[in-house]
Amino acid sequence: MRHTITILVENEFGVLTRIAGLFSARGYNIESLSVAPTMDETVSRVSLVTRGDEKVIEQIKKQLNKLIPVIKTEDISFMVHLEREMLMVKVKDSDESLALADEARAKIVDHEQGSYFIAELTGKTEKIDQFLKDIGEKNIIEITRTGPVGMRRGIEGFVV
């Protein structure tokens, strides 16, 4: 099962290494990991996507909480939530590819006629996967993705 876990951590140096190190030392896999500061400058928010059976995920959550700078964690996979990731893709210029980008409501942020364009797209992971598939590997020069970030629906916030 795929799980998206949100983690609030003390904003101090080395926290990301501790999280990544935990996963490699215990043989858990990380599909994606992203971190950024929050409104509270002492706190950073990490979004992590991992896979494992129930027992493994349970251990992962406990092990994360055991890291000293981790303030709290939340597995949003089973909650009503939103998940988005952002893609930037550099594509060989063609009318067909541009049309696909338009159809997917990607934003063209850079364009050199007859050479290439860069599209920016935000959406669910599946949507981004589909867009890349539609464009086709042979037309793609380079991609970069943020990995998913997520948030529970509802008025309550996941804050310290």
């Binding site: 951590v9 003390e10 080395g14 290494t17 501790r18 190190g21 030392a25 027992k55 349970e58 251990q59 406990k62 092990q63 909480n65 055991k66 000293i68 700078p69 981790v70 303030i71 310290v160």
Partner: protein
């Protein structure tokens, strides 16, 4: 008041109540050593190798109940300490290690004696800190002690760059150490406690299985004894839990696991309720997982949520400190006002008595010798009345000590269980001697293990410690030889020593008393000398039966009830 980083270090240790630290100097920690020279709040014990500083601090911590503290220099000093950090962390022993670091402005330049000790020790410690600014030093030291000693204890590194030791600032002692990201649970959930008590009173074939957590939670051994008497339940200890129950209490089954007793392993395999008290279902304890306690409901009391349901699913977890939760349980039992299942327990004990009759630890000692290693352990037990502080190295001698010494009290059994570190025993005894200088301290060791930290005889001599080292000399890496005999068709690949030093002479060279025993009479005489010598350490090199094996044994991967008895 303005102070240098080095002075702040001394002041913080004083305020933490530190009485002794173990260390070894070098360039990066010279400012701190200079401040230590000028103070009289705590003693500094000069070891002969940084690994030993950590093991000594570990031994000191286990006996005294305080946090172990050590100080080493940057680079090789710090990397030498890594084994000791990992060892303390696996066995949940509070141990704070201060490492020197190259000056901040040189970090990352491959400077002389620079090692990324924060990176290296990240997975060998509970937590580690790099002090970047002298203004943070007091707060970090406070947090380091708090983290090392609370929750599930462990090792903590505080890495101090040389310039931080020299820089100065206003000293501010943080009155509290509240950390929003670290708040270990102490009290058990009352609802869970209630359910647990119900299950305990209903059980027909209960077993209490206690471990190192009972050592960490001072005072909990008495509560454990009370509980087993109230429930009339048998108790087994892990290797780390020995001393949690007096060996001569009728409810004690001995150790369980790979080299546990027949009755302990059979009881666990047949129980209908297993109550784990501060133990972590290690693979040396459970044997094959799908056959472990197959009929039992499992209650797991542990302060660390990651221990719960990691290897064995807990039907009823109680997260909290063992001492607090055991008291809650005892209170709840009086509150419910019922007794345990007396009739069923009678039958259960009949069965256990039958298993006991197998006498799985039995061995034969002929008068002509050779000296059986088990005999040596039993003789030391008699002389010290089961009351000595016993340290060991790793191997067969460790298992025989666990099986045959017989512990009366907690905090007197110091062994490396989780990491299984050869070289632990002698330095641990050095540390224990600082915590309990007037008590008998025995280190059981092997001819391979002792050579990993033998230089600490010099430390023992310098501080005139009355340690008794008992070497069970079989001229083999006995435990390795045993596995090769049993699982590799007796191909003894590199487990025999063609060359061994004359240990008695070596001990004398280090300043102590060195004795050799080849016969039972010589052994008796040597032991009598050892426990009456008051001036220095005594080292007894005992020639034991070379090819004796440790039994019972659950081969790796087998079920607990598939023991090999001889």
């Amino acid at each position: 008041m303005k102070m240098t980083g080095a002075e702040i270090f001394v002041e913080c240790l004083k305020r933490e109540g530190v009485e002794v630290i173990f260390g070894y100097p070098g360039g990066a920690v010279l400012p701190i050593y200079d401040a230590i020279f000028q103070q009289s709040h705590f003693k500094h014990i000069l070891v002969r190798h940084e690994q030993a500083a950590l093991h000594a601090a570990n031994g000191y911590a286990r006996v005294s109940g305080k946090c172990g503290v050590s100080l080493v220099t940057s680079g090789p000093g710090a990397t030498n300490a890594v084994t000791g950090l990992a060892d303390s962390n696996s066995d949940s022993i509070p141990n704070v290690c201060f490492t020197g670091q190259v000056p901040s402005y040189l970090i990352g330049t491959d400077a002389f004696q620079e090692a990324d000790i924060i990176g290296i020790t990240r997975s060998a410690t509970k937590h580690n800190f790099l002090v970047k600014d002298v203004k943070d030093l007091a707060k970090i030291i406070r947090q380091a002690f708090h983290i090392a000693t609370s929750g599930r204890p462990g090792s903590v590194v505080v890495d101090i760059p040389k310039d931080v030791g020299l820089a100065s600032c206003e000293f501010v002692w943080p009155e509290s150490v509240a950390m929003r990201s670290y708040q270990p649970v102490v009290e058990g959930h009352p609802g869970q406690v209630k359910k647990a008590v119900k299950a305990m009173l209903k059980a027909k074939r209960p077993v209490l299985y206690s471990g190192g957590g009972v050592m960490n939670a001072r005072g909990s051994a008495e509560l454990l004894l009370k509980l087993c008497h109230q429930l009339n339940a048998p108790v087994t200890n892990t290797l780390m839990g020995l001393g949690g129950i007096p060996y001569d209490d009728s409810h004690f089954l001995g150790m369980l696991g790979m080299h546990g007793t027949y009755e302990a392993n059979m009881a666990v395999s047949h129980c209908d309720l297993l109550v784990s008290v501060g133990a972590r279902f290690d693979d040396r304890v459970t044997g094959r997982l799908d056959a472990f306690a197959p009929d039992a409901k499992i209650i797991h009391i542990d302060v660390d949520p990651t221990s719960v349901s990691k290897n064995v699913h807990a039907d009823l977890p109680i997260v909290g400190d063992v001492a607090v939760v055991l008291q809650q349980i005892l209170d709840e039992i009086s509150h419910q006002g019922k007794t345990h299942n007396i009739e069923a327990l009678k039958l259960w004990w009949q069965q256990i008595v039958e298993w006991r009759e197998v006498n799985s630890l039995g061995f034969e000692q002929s008068n002509e010798g050779p000296i059986k290693p088990q005999t040596v352990i039993r003789k030391v037990h008699e002389i010290t009345k089961g009351d000595a502080i016993v340290t060991t190295d790793v191997g067969q001698h460790q298992m025989w000590a666990a099986q045959h010494y017989g512990f009366k009290k907690p905090h007197r059994w110091l062994t490396s269980g989780g990491l299984g570190t050869m070289g632990y025993g002698l330095p641990a005894a050095v540390g224990a001697a600082m915590a309990a200088p007037d008590e008998p301290i025995v280190c059981f060791t092997g001819d391979a293990s002792i050579q990993m930290c033998i230089q600490e005889l010099a430390t023992a001599y310098q501080y005139r410690q009355k340690i008794v080292v008992v070497l069970l000399n079989n001229a083999y890496m006995g435990m390795v030889r045993q596995w090769q005999e049993m699982f590799h068709e007796s191909r003894f690949s590199h487990s025999y020593f063609d060359s061994l030093p004359d240990f008695a002479m070596l001990a004398e060279a280090y300043g102590g008393v060195g004795l050799r025993a080849d016969t039972l009479d010589e052994l008796d005489a040597a032991l009598a000398t050892a426990f009456s010598t008051q001036e220095s350490f005594v080292f007894i090199d005992v020639a034991v039966a070379k090819e004796e094996n440790v039994f019972p044994m659950v081969p790796a991967g087998a079920a607990l009830n598939e023991m090999v008895l001889s």
